[in-house]
């Protein structure tokens, strides 16, 4: 224990936070117990446990909200003595990203999850209804487990004690052991690490809350299923269970979808789904919920599949906890591109999963025999038969995904028993998952078509049979035609994909028919039709964007010919674009036009012109992918793509690589260090030869003409050598304007870089010395003038025009108490007629006289303003003539300069990708719609 009195710490937020955590934990336990007792006494509520329980849950909710407020307070006020603030915010983090920073950490995301559970719990409490005690018992129990994840209390077992949860309001010095904490004033010295740059966008603000709402929503059907089991009422829960199931499907599905939009729009891998383990493990619970929704519908209509529904809802919840275990444990780090920080909660999460899995399954098997199951089997011709098959197909698909994604877990288990066990890994994830999910999707699409035309319980089959076959037959015919049309567009070769397209179109046609003509405004049924149409559209979008995907940025002719064989050629995805040089890509001519800075973002404008076979331009547009530098421009932190979206075609572009000098300071330095400069002495009009070029010095100017000349001022003493550089082996020539300038005592350099010649030209610093002689060498002539007077100095006539009370000189920094003025002198060369003006400055500071000299470089004249005679009003000046040397001017040239005027670009053309978005969006609408209709009708 330290005895240091730390300065500047604010301890009350941490203490308040601790208190709130304890209150929330205890009240969650209290709520669980109270709801349990309330359920027990439901028939005869003597002690009003229900009221107590409701209040406990409310207190729990309020304390969690309070805790979140405390953490926000800590973060907003940049209190780096707290670990959470230190790890997730920094001084310069914009306010709008504070939310993202809040849930960047594990503790924050757990709180977000709990937040939604509280909201949903309050909805259940407020709505009333007889299921409250039973359902809330389980929900409160889940909250107990979640709250334990943020406790941060130490338990006495394990080596050195073990920790239960991580406290988000803990002090930094309590969790990190660093020498800086020996300093009582450490707080002044530390600053926050800030939010990961990849998360500083609006996606990080909306995707986690929606996804965690989905996670939270998944637990409600689970609680209802268990409540039904507990209470031995196996049918009553089906109704609220379905509505919550639909809500969970909508919420989680939307969350996942937001993630894929984020991936496509802001990440650079060029797609919306990568079968990454983290993505898969959010998808699987969603699929199980969808399966559960379908069996739930069956159960409500026919009484079949109650058991299946219960199992699915139990599995969905356990799988979401399993998924959070996988993400938070770091076990996926070799197979996933998502970054992880392990925080030691793995065992607690495993316990969490096992507890509820065992609880759910035990309750289920205990009551198994009692669960009603109609004696009469489902018929072949009944809708529920095929819906059930469909749900089984979804579950099988989920098992396959889970198995492949969990390989690292299996590796870990196997290696626990056999240290020599070789880790197994999926060799080509995208191919692997596509290969088997293709069949799942095909079956799902077919079944979602067939079952629409059937009726529950095969009602009235004999009368209905003919109509069914007619409808289905027509649909199949239309599908065949539409499939043929579609594969003219989608260049599909494999029969498996054709079958999938067929199945999707079949479902599309059947459900469209159903929506438009059969149900005639029956809103309840339209939700499912919309969802199925969405699913089918989504599949078409996946097929089109996947199969018709082309790398526009592939220029096969430019390849060095190192590789034979087609299969590797399609990997050559990058192309080099040199500034202002148009290049032919597949179907487009692309030109890298400019780059511009906006704060730390550097965007590259690339103009695309779409051309037809004859090379005529069809369409023109500009895309601007960017890179983002860190605060100090020392390295690139992130890159964003730019996408051109049209109804059927998307062009996706990203910067794959920049020239080394522009990526980070180290590389820039390395490039600079590698340059070899040679000094050449040039004379006006002469030709100088270097190893690969010859240069003609055409003109000498006394001002800066360099393209970057903005910083230069008229008063600078400057020199520019205009030269024409010719390449010895190529036919090209370039004009260069390297310059050098003197302002007061600062030297400004204006080197020229000629990228096509890999050349850089400096004017040597010694030029300044050679050109501008030191004062000692100057031979001044003194003269006195009153205003308006003239003085003849060799061929120059100098006229003292006026005095300037507000003098300016590059070397003069005005201070209070200075007396300063300058004299405006006009100098005329009586032989050539050339006119110049100059303003030397005279100053008295602290009773000491001094002056600042000026020059007329073209004439080689130096002027000083040395004295003022107050009596006569005459000013004393000095002039010296020393023309600047313009012979053997030293110029430094490097010819091994790597080009810096290009970008490496990847450009992908997707077709029909918008069908994916439209389709998935429709699926969500369908789910939401179904839920709302049922809520309205109280059905």
């Amino acid at each position: 224990m330290s005895e240091i009195q730390y300065i500047g710490e604010t301890l009350w937020p941490g203490q308040l936070g601790h208190l709130l955590i304890i209150i929330s934990f205890v009240s969650a336990i209290g709520a669980t117990i109270a709801y349990f007792l309330a359920e027990k006494e439901r028939e005869n509520p003597v002690s009003n446990w229900l009221g107590t329980a409701n209040w406990s849950y409310v207190i729990h909710g309020v304390s969690i909200f309070g805790l979140m407020a405390v953490i926000f307070y800590i973060m907003l006020n940049r209190m780096y003595e707290y670990a959470y603030a230190f790890n997730h915010v920094s001084d310069d983090l914009p306010f709008k990203y504070t939310f993202s920073a809040f849930w960047e950490g594990q503790e924050g995301s757990f709180l977000l999850w709990m937040f939604w559970h509280i909201i949903l719990g309050w909805v259940i409490i407020w709505k009333g209804g007889q299921w409250r005690p039973a359902v809330m018992t389980f929900l409160s129990l889940i909250q107990v487990f979640l709250t334990s994840k943020i406790l941060g209390t130490y338990l006495p077992f394990g080596d050195g004690g073990s920790k239960l949860g991580i406290n988000p309001t803990v002090l930094l010095r309590d969790v990190q052991d660093a020498p800086i904490f020996a300093n009582a004033e450490y707080l002044e010295l530390i600053t926050g690490s800030g939010l990961n740059i990849l998360l500083q966008n609006y996606w990080m603000t909306i995707h986690p809350p929606v996804t965690f709402l989905g996670f939270a929503a998944l637990s409600i059907p689970f609680c209802f299923a268990l409540a039904g089991l507990w209470r031995r009422d196996y049918k009553g829960w089906l109704d609220p269970g379905l509505k919550w199931g639909l809500f969970a499907g909508f919420a989680l599905g939307t969350g996942i979808l937001l993630g894929s939009v984020w991936a496509y729009e802001a990440l650079t891998f060029g797609g919306y789904w990568a079968w990454d383990p983290v993505e898969n493990m959010s998808l699987v619970p969603w699929l199980i919920i969808i399966a559960g929704i379908h069996t739930n519908l069956i159960a409500k209509s026919t009484g079949h599949s109650i058991r299946a529904t219960m199992v699915f809802y139990i599995l969905a919840f356990c799988l979401i906890v399993y998924s959070t275990y996988l993400v938070r444990s770091g076990i996926l780090e070799d197979t996933s591109v998502h970054a992880f920080t392990e925080m030691g909660l793995e065992n607690q999460l495993i316990f969490f999963i096992l507890f509820f899995l065992i609880l759910g399954l035990t309750l289920f098997f205990m009551r198994y025999r009692e669960i009603p199951n109609p004696k009469k089997e489902e018929d072949w011709n009944s809708r529920e038969f095929w819906m059930f098959i469909g749900s089984m197909v979804i579950v099988i698909g989920s098992i396959l995904i889970t198995y492949s994604t969990s390989l690292p877990v299996m590796n870990a288990i196997m290696q626990f028993f056999d240290p020599f066990y070789q880790s197994r890994v999926v060799e080509d994830p995208i191919e692997h998952y596509n290969a088997h999910q293709l069949w799942i999707a095909t079956l799902m699409a077919l079944l979602s078509g067939i079952s629409i035309y059937l009726r529950y319980r095969g009602a009235n089959w004999l009368n209905y049979r003919k109509k069914f076959f007619t409808q289905t037959g027509i649909a199949l015919l239309l599908t065949a035609v539409l499939t043929w049309a579609t594969i003219q567009w989608i260049q599909v070769v494999a029969w498996q994909y054709i079958l999938l397209i067929f199945a999707a179109l079949f479902s599309f046609i059947v459900n469209m028919d159903h929506l438009l003509f059969r149900i005639k405004g029956n809103l309840k049924a339209s939700g499912s039709a919309i969802a199925h149409i969405g699913f089918a559209t989504m599949i078409i979008g996946i097929m089109a964007s996947g199969i018709n995907k082309t790398y526009v940025s592939s220029n096969v002719f430019a390849q060095s010919g190192m590789l034979e064989g087609m299969e590797d050629e399609d990997l050559l995805r990058n192309i080099v674009l040199i500034k202002n040089e148009p290049i032919f890509m597949r179907g487009y001519i692309a030109t890298y036009e400019t780059d511009r800075f906006d704060g730390n973002e550097r965007s590259f404008d690339i103009r695309f012109v779409e051309i037809d076979e004859e090379g005529r331009g069809l369409d023109s547009f500009v895309l601007s992918p960017n890179v983002i530098y860190d605060k100090n421009f020392t390295q690139i932190e992130a890159a964003n793509p730019d996408i051109r979206r049209q109804p059927l075609i998307d062009i996706f572009t990203r910067i794959a690589r920049l020239p080394a000098q522009q990526i980070d300071l180290e590389s820039a330095q390395a490039v600079e260090d590698s340059l070899r400069f040679e000094t050449y002495y040039m004379n006006l009009g002469d030709t100088t030869f270097t190893s690969r070029h010859y240069i003609v010095l055409e003109e000498i100017h006394h001002s800066i003409l360099h393209p970057d000349k903005e910083g230069s001022a008229e008063d600078d003493i400057a020199l520019t050598l205009k030269m024409r550089v010719h390449s010895l082996d190529k036919d090209s020539a370039f004009t260069a304007l390297p310059g050098i300038a003197l302002r007061g005592s600062f030297v400004f350099r204006y080197p020229e870089q000629i990228d096509p010649l890999n050349m850089r030209i400096h004017l040597a610093d010694t030029l300044i010395e050679d050109l501008f002689h030191t004062e000692k060498e100057l031979n001044y002539t003194e003269f006195q003038l009153a205003q308006g007077d003239r003085f003849q100095y060799d061929e120059y006539e100098i006229t003292f025009l006026n005095v300037n009370q507000e003098p300016w000189h590059p070397s003069y920094d005005e201070r209070d108490g200075d007396i300063a003025l300058s004299a405006i002198l006009e100098v005329v060369n009586t032989e050539t007629g050339a006119e110049y003006r100059t303003e030397p400055v005279y100053m008295i500071r602290d009773n000491i006289q001094s002056n600042f000299k000026t020059m007329v470089p073209e004439a080689g004249l130096h002027f000083r303003f040395t004295r003022v005679d107050p009596n006569t009003g005459k000013m004393t000046f000095m002039v010296a003539e020393q023309p600047m040397k313009i012979q053997n001017l030293p110029v430094q040239i490097a010819e091994n300069v790597p080009r810096s005027d290009f970008i490496v670009l990847e450009a992908i053309r997707f077709e029909g990708l918008n069908f994916f978005w439209v389709g998935s969006f429709m699926m969500m609408i369908g789910l939401l719609f179904s839920m709302i209709v049922r809520l309205r009708n109280k059905m």
Binding site: E377, H436, R657, P659
Partner: protein, 145 residues
């Protein structure tokens, strides 16, 4: 007597959905077995070099930070060479058919997917593991202004 008949009838009735379920499970197992062939183990350079069927394998290793890394986009923007050491300590040159990734020098571990061609390992894909931002015992000190 009557109850026995009912039992037999029920048994016959029960079969339908079980048949379909059984078929589905069989299909699932088949799919499972087929796709399990997509699982492999991580290879070493030595093992990968011996393969002759031209398939792509995965190799885990670490970047040899002291050896040269060559990426000249002006010549070929899809070719990046570097040296990697696999888990057996074997160091080989690798040609990656893509650009040099951002922060490559900071990688802690690499997973390559590729195969040997004419004595060089040609990688189609690479997964890079970078150190987490959160290092223990590292506290950022604010620079005094």
């Amino acid at each position: 007597m009557v109850s026995r008949q009912i039992l037999i009838e029920n048994y016959k009735e029960m079969k339908k959905i079980h048949i379909v379920a059984g078929l589905l499970m069989a299909g699932a197992v088949l799919l499972f077995v087929i796709t399990s062939t997509d699982f492999g183990t991580y290879y070493t350079f030595a093992e990968a070099e011996l393969l002759e069927d031209g398939r792509n394998v995965k190799i885990i290793g670490q970047l040899s930070k002291d050896k040269e890394m060559v990426y000249n986009p002006e010549i070929d923007p899809n070719r990046f060479t570097f040296y990697m050491t696999d888990e057996e300590g074997d160091e080989r040159m690798v040609v990656l058919l893509s650009e040099k990734p951002q922060d490559f020098e900071m990688s802690e571990q690499l997973v390559l997917t590729g195969r040997f061609r004419d004595g060089t390992f040609v990688a189609r894909e690479m997964l890079m593991k970078c150190p987490s931002k959160y290092q223990d015992d590292e506290i950022f000190v604010r620079s005094e202004i």
